[in-house]
Amino acid sequence: MLILECPYCGVKAEETELSPGYEAHLKRFGPGSSPEEFEAYMFARKNPKGVHFERWRHAYGCGKWFLAARCTATLEVFGTYPAQSGEPPADLQAKIKAKRPNWEGYK
């Protein structure tokens, strides 16, 4: 039962208050995209053992979607940040890199 802090309302929310939204920072491919692009968007997930970026919704709280960076192996949470982010904040990336020197970046 994870605890993730909602970056909007500041509540340290327990997993039962949240609904999962799977991998974050996906690029949507719509009409006109190639089969490979659409396949990657629809189905190809990283599923890493280690640093992972996820979408969560504070469904039984403020209702906001947010993004979380956590380690899928140890469940350590590196940070949460608003869904309106094109990429993880620079300070969060630096923090993860410090903790996981072998991390290859979020892309």
Partner: protein, 991 residues
């Protein structure tokens, strides 16, 4: 024989007796007894039969690790199987029966398995039941089902109640022995919020039994003083009879409190399940003594040395008059000394070590006890009770040097720390060579959300087995004022995994590792020979550690035997995975209050009470309860549904449609947003107009449908299905927050703010006109428009939309007016023949009209085009959710199953779930298929069966006769027809 001693017993109250029954026999014990101690006090050593061989089994342990002594407890609604007698507190009126025997405990037919043991080796199931293939179902499985299973399944509903409790704390400490108490005191005095739980009914753990001296006081006194000090601290919560069952992610803990197991029927909940979020968890769960593997170590009367000591000191019960102690360590000498001090005989202490240097052996010798060094128990003699032991050299192969008569054997193979809670979230272990056990590796603890250690482990659970070492460990990890215990020097133990070490196959066949599942040394060695080198595979092949005790007693013995057979080191073999719960938690406790009426929260429409008062039969739709039909006296449901449909078609009907999802979408970009969400265009919808729309997921599959209305220049209201409201609102928010966050759109789920009533039928307009307040004429309010106004003085929004195919008004009003409007409509409708209709009539009427239903015609693999809904898909829009998905080649394939209507040749109804069969068979020998039915009903309007379904070729197949399969194996012939069965030109709805 085992009996009650005249004096002593620190936990029993001899002034209060308690009577109980075991297998119908009336027995008596004292307040403070466990069921185990009172059974032993009554010389009831034989308490059960083993799982596989039905061997007679007695009590082995004194705590949660007990593998043998499981009984059926209680009767009727309080019946519970597999209760450990060692953790069951005695109360007056307790009833227990033994398990896994037939016809009686004393004489069991299943014991023939024991004599056939050589034919029931490890992996017996896998080897025997493979061939011939058909025999499993018809021969083997019925026999296995008859003879397998431990205990009986309770019959009838549970009469007790259970509850949940929630708590938060800085420190959650598990184990009320001296280490746990001292840890709680240190942390509590430092101001931390502490919860300390102990699974038994007593504080103090083993120290008082072992006669430790702490802070210059006897352990009993120190425990009493410490508990008093803790009780004075407002920030410390103490809970006895509370078992921490598991540690989960980020400091989440489940603990099961046995509130009233020992006081049944006193009005309190039986168990309380604690759901705790802890900053940090400290495990002080102590250690569990291991058996030794010698032949006949499962015969009743062979017990753990510590358990024998517990029964003598705590309960003044002697397991036997003459107890032989067999050990590989100094601790077991405490048992011999305790027995001797209680006036009982200890014919010999058999010690596997060749050199005995500790204080305790010296003390035992000084008391006149015969001590044999370098010796082993070759085998235990006796059947349902120990009658003696044969001893030989530990270094030998089993040659008997001497027989010693005795009626009990106290064994000790060393101690294993309880590392379960440390391990649940991946805390790692190290092998301690000196003490021959796995203990926590302080360098690799389980971690929390910050990456910091989440569990600490102190005392014996951390491998510090003596009182002095345990308290020093607490001080080292938590600080606090130094509390010291008198150190009793103990010499090193000797790892002994098989006794004697050169024992041959005949002896190994009788050395039990897992008592409950009947796994022996020979089984583990066989598994190794057959190539099971992974401990997890060996576990599953032999069932070692898979019983209800989960291998607490002797898993380490099994691992060591496996390592020996593989010629490998124990740490290389490793352990199996520790998983919650630590001991079994009753289903009742897990369910808590969630049963019966409050199993789930219920959602009720504003008119719910009216439906109930008018004999509605309610059906669950998500969390809602909706009226399925309103049976009248003498009507069954089918008759009621048919009457409701015919009346709506002939006169007028009313449906409570309040549960329909209603989401307001507002803002400068709302039109643009809805054009992305729906497959058709919504931005050009005129104010005051209604339009049916479809929503798809990104794969292109149909997800939800409903009518969208435009309220104003910048706001729309989207109706969704009853079950889809929350999901679709979340879906909208997902896109607005995560993808198009620069679009200026606001959404609000107002489903529960409005009651909605469908008034449908040729007389519908007359009913509204009778109420009066607004113009609902065809000219002012044509089909697919809406208007705001009043009806009978109530504020309403009237939509001209129809799901029944009749002239229909869907009237929304604020929820608080819902019942008033409903009753006003019913009253106004009396002269026009109004009747309420339920969801089943709604379903049939829409099927008669060929309208699709999300969840019937769709199943997550159907695109709108499959349902002939291409007209609702915009060709002009560059993009909408699902457009790219629908462009995938296989979704455009002519082979896809598409919607059509079906009528049987006889007028009957096609069975629900039927497939349309095609020529030939598939690889599994099943008939090939070419379609399936999606909605099938008897239509009272048309007086025949009607159906919709998906068929290869869809409407191109019009006129074809196809065959639907049935469960019985026969087929039903049906003709492919237009799915619109009623009012094909839509004249009625437009009226």
């Amino acid at each position: 024989m085992s009996t009650r001693l005249q004096k002593g017993g620190r936990l029993i109250d001899r002034t209060r007796s308690a009577s109980f029954t075991f297998n119908g026999k009336r027995l008596s014990g004292f307040a403070g007894d466990t069921l185990a101690s009172s059974l032993l006090a009554n010389d009831q050593m034989l308490v059960g039969r083993s799982f596989k061989y039905h061997r007679p089994r007695g009590i082995v342990a004194s705590g949660a690790e007990e593998p043998n002594a499981l009984v059926n407890m209680g009767e009727g609604g309080r019946f519970e199987p597999n209760q450990r007698v060692t953790t069951t507190e005695l109360f007056d009126g307790l009833t227990a029966t033994s398990q896994n025997h037939w016809p009686s405990l004393e004489f069991d037919v299943g014991v023939v398995n024991n004599y056939a043991a050589r034919f029931l080796p490890a992996g017996f199931y896998y080897k025997t039941f493979m061939f011939p293939r058909f025999a499993w179902k018809h021969v083997f499985e019925p026999i296995v089902r008859q003879s397998a299973g431990l205990g009986k399944v309770p019959q009838g509903p549970e009469v007790d109640r259970y509850e949940y409790a929630y708590a938060f704390c800085d420190l959650f400490i598990v184990g009320g022995g001296i280490a746990g108490l001292q840890a709680a005191l240190v942390a509590g005095q430092a101001g931390s919020r502490v919860i300390l739980v102990e699974q038994t009914a007593h504080w103090g753990g083993r120290a008082p039994v072992d006669g430790d001296v702490i802070d210059g006081k006897p352990a009993d006194q120190w425990v009493k003083d410490t508990v008093q000090a803790l009780e004075k601290l407002p920030n410390v919560t103490l809970r006895l009879r509370t078992m921490a069952s598991g540690v989960y992610d980020h400091g989440y803990v489940l603990a099961d409190e046995k509130v009233a197991d020992h006081t049944p029927g006193d009005g309190r909940p039986r168990h309380r399940l604690w759901r705790i979020r802890a900053g940090k968890i400290i495990s002080a769960q102590g250690a569990i003594e291991r058996p030794l593997s010698f032949a006949g170590n499962d015969i009743p009367g062979v017990m753990l040395a510590s358990a024998v000591r517990d029964y003598v000191v705590n309960f003044a019960v002697s397991p036997g008059d003459r107890t032989v102690v067999v050990t590989n360590n100094d601790d077991a000498y405490r048992t011999a000394i305790a027995l001797k001090e209680a006036g009982l005989e200890v014919p010999a202490i058999i010690d596997a070590r060749t050199s005995l240097t500790g204080d305790l052996p010296a003390k035992a010798k000084a008391m006149g006890i015969r001590v044999e060094a370098g010796r082993a128990v070759v085998k235990v003699k006796g059947g349902k009770r120990v009658t003696g032991v044969s001893i030989g050299l530990q270094a030998g192969e089993g040659a008997v040097l001497e027989d010693i008569a005795c009626d009990a054997v106290a064994m000790s193979g060393g101690w294993s720390p309880v590392v379960h809670l440390w391990s649940h979230c991946a805390g790692k272990l190290v092998w301690d060579e000196a003490q021959a056990h796995f203990r926590p590796d302080p360098k690799r603890p389980p971690t929390n959300q910050d990456g910091a250690a989440m569990v600490a482990i102190v005392g014996a659970a951390n491998g510090n087995l003596s009182a002095a070492a345990a308290l020093a460990d607490v001080a080292a990890q938590l600080g606090g004022s130094a509390v010291t215990a008198v150190e009793v020097p103990e010499a090193a133990m000797l790892a002994v995994w098989i006794m004697p070490q050169g024992a041959g196959p005949a002896l190994k066949m009788k050395m039990w590792l897992d008592y409950q599942n009947d796994v022996k040394v020979s089984d583990v060695q066989l598994a190794a020979r057959e190539g099971y080198t992974s401990v997890e595979h060996t576990k599953r092949y032999t069932t070692l550690g898979m019983a209800t005790d989960q291998g607490k007693l002797s898993n380490i013995n099994g691992l060591a035997v496996l390592a020996g057979a593989l010629n490998d080191q124990i740490p290389n073999v490793g352990t199996t995975t520790f998983r919650p719960p630590y001991t079994p938690v009753p289903f009742g406790a897990l369910a808590g209050e969630s049963r019966g009426e409050i199993f789930q929260p219920l959602r009720k429409s504003p008119m719910h009470g009216w439906h109930e008062a008018h004999n509605a039969y309610l059906e669950p739709v998500g969390l809602w309860r909706r009226a399925y039909c309103y049976p009248r006296a003498g009507e069954n449901h089918e008759q009621a549904v048919n009457r409701e449909i015919l009346n709506a078609r002939a006169n007028v009907g009313m449906l409570d449609a309040s549960t329909l999802g209603k989401i307001i979408v507002k803002g400068p970009d709302a039109g643009r947003f809805l054009d992305m969400l729906y497959t058709n265009v919504m931005s050009n919808l005129g104010i005051g107009k209604c339009r049916y729309g479809l929503m798809c997921n990104e794969q292109g599959f149909l997800s939800d449908d409903g009518v969208v209305i435009r309220l104003s220049e910048d706001s729309w209201l989207c109706h969704t299905t009853t079950g889809g409201a929350d999901r679709i609102h979340g879906w909208m928010e997902d896109w607005l927050q995560c993808e198009w966050w620069d679009w200026k759109v606001y959404t609000a789920n107002v489903t529960e703010e409005y009651a909605q009533i469908a008034v449908a039928g040729p007389n519908a307009r007359k009913v509204l006109e009778k109420l009066g307040g607004m113009d609902v004429s065809k000219e002012t309010l044509p089909f697919m428009t809406f208007a705001d106004g009043t009806l009978g003085g109530l504020p309403v929004r009237v939509h001209r939309i129809s799901f029944s195919g009749e002239l229909s008004y869907e009237i929304a009003t604020p929820a608080s007016h819902g019942l008033a409007l409903w009753e006003a409509l019913i009253e106004a409708g009396q002269e026009f023949g109004v009747m309420p209709y339920g969801t089943e009539a709604m379903h049939i009427m829409r099927a008669e009209k060929g309208f699709i239903m999300i969840g019937d015609e769709t199943d997550g693999t159907v695109i709108p085009q499959d349902l002939n809904l291409g007209w609702a898909i915009s060709k002009k829009k560059a993009d909408y959710l699902g457009k790219r998905g629908q462009e995938r080649t296989h979704l455009a394939s002519p082979d896809r199953w598409k919607l059509a209507g079906f009528e049987t040749l006889t007028g009957g109804v096609i069975p629900d779930g039927s497939y349309i069969i095609a020529d030939g068979h598939n690889a599994n020998g099943q008939r090939n298929t070419q379609g399936r039915v999606t909605s099938t009903y008897y239509s009272p309007t048309l007086k025949k069966g009607i159906a919709m379904g998906l068929i290869k070729g869809g409407m191109d197949r019009l006129g074809d006769v196809v065959e639907f399969n049935t469960v019985a194996g026969s087929t039903v012939k049906a003709k492919v027809v237009d799915p619109v069965f009623y009012d094909k030109d839509g004249e009625k709805g437009n009226a």
